[in-house]
Symmetry: C2
Subunit: 182 residues, 2 copies
């Protein structure tokens, strides 16, 4: 069945630094008129970085919308809409952890909340490194970097202890991949 | 280290049907002043529903921010801020698929994009059912329901064929749980 929603109007209601909020009028396939509120976003990357000892690199970061510190894998926005996601992944990993991996593989895309958030996140697996070096964080970026054995991280995800979605998906995807290689 | 970001101002810039966009002024632990653009959301649930034949219940739904049809597990917003997530999960699963499971377990929380989206999604595992019944969709809701063996769904996630984040996380979490029970 054709599920296409046709745009009848589009209004930019807030054009922010990160968030660009639109309210579009749409015509549904059944003819019903409705509206869609959604965020346009430049796009982002996240990186499951697993070192030569089988440990995953994680970050503790304060997330204002939840007013608490969350555990997440390294991630960040593209610098420009056309930036190569692999370059962005290498940059963000280097800036946040100082790590320069020998291998950076695309695992696939991740859409965190596709009904309202048009943010496309490219998920990568970084391997072939021992430890990090110097970091270069943005002025409004404060984070603690630490490592955890990948199997322990997978247990934490399965126990419901890591609410960040991209971190749940990336850790389990990486864990399964390393299991297959054993 | 204390990572708390103190609110110095808060402005509701758009108060929509689903999206409530705020721009807050914050004071970072290092004293730097910054702003946070974020969405407040009533909260939601998603359900990994696995029938007695080991098949997961999936939906094809048009997602306007990406202008394409995505494959996702059943999900929906809370009716009220105080609604019991389990009740919401049972309602959404019944409305979208007609399924009434004998068991509905909380797997944990899922935050799809915690830097900008304050949407808290409770993730459930529904088991103990054979097939669905009558559906009751919202007027602006059009979706196709289908089933797939859980191990095939896990392979599709690992192959990067399912971009929706909650669906990636839920399928792999369910897959590991059923593997452990074998």
């Amino acid at each position: 069945m054709d599920m296409t929603e046709k745009t009848t109007s589009s209004r930019l209601v807030y054009d922010g630094r990160v968030v660009h909020l639109y309210v579009d009028g749409v015509s549904l396939p059944n003819g019903v008129a409705s509206t869609r509120e959604y965020i346009r976003h430049i796009g982002a990357v996240c990186v499951l970085a697993v070192n030569d000892r089988g440990e995953v690199v994680l970050e503790r970061q304060y997330r204002y919308p939840f007013h608490k510190v969350l555990i997440e894998i390294p991630a960040g926005k593209l610098d420009t809409p056309g930036e190569d996601p692999r370059e962005a992944a290498l940059r963000e990993l280097r800036e946040e952890t100082g790590i320069v991996p020998r291998k950076m593989e695309l695992l696939g895309e991740y859409y965190g909340s596709p009904a309202i958030l048009g943010e496309r996140i490219w998920m990568f697996l970084a391997t072939g490194f021992e430890s990090g070096g110097a970091r270069h964080l943005d002025e409004d970026e404060m984070l603690e970097v630490f490592t955890m054995p990948l199997d322990e991280a997978a247990r934490a995800v399965l126990a419901g202890e890591i609410p960040d979605g991209k971190t749940q998906a990336a850790i389990l995807r990486g864990y399964y991949r390393f299991q297959q290689q054993k």
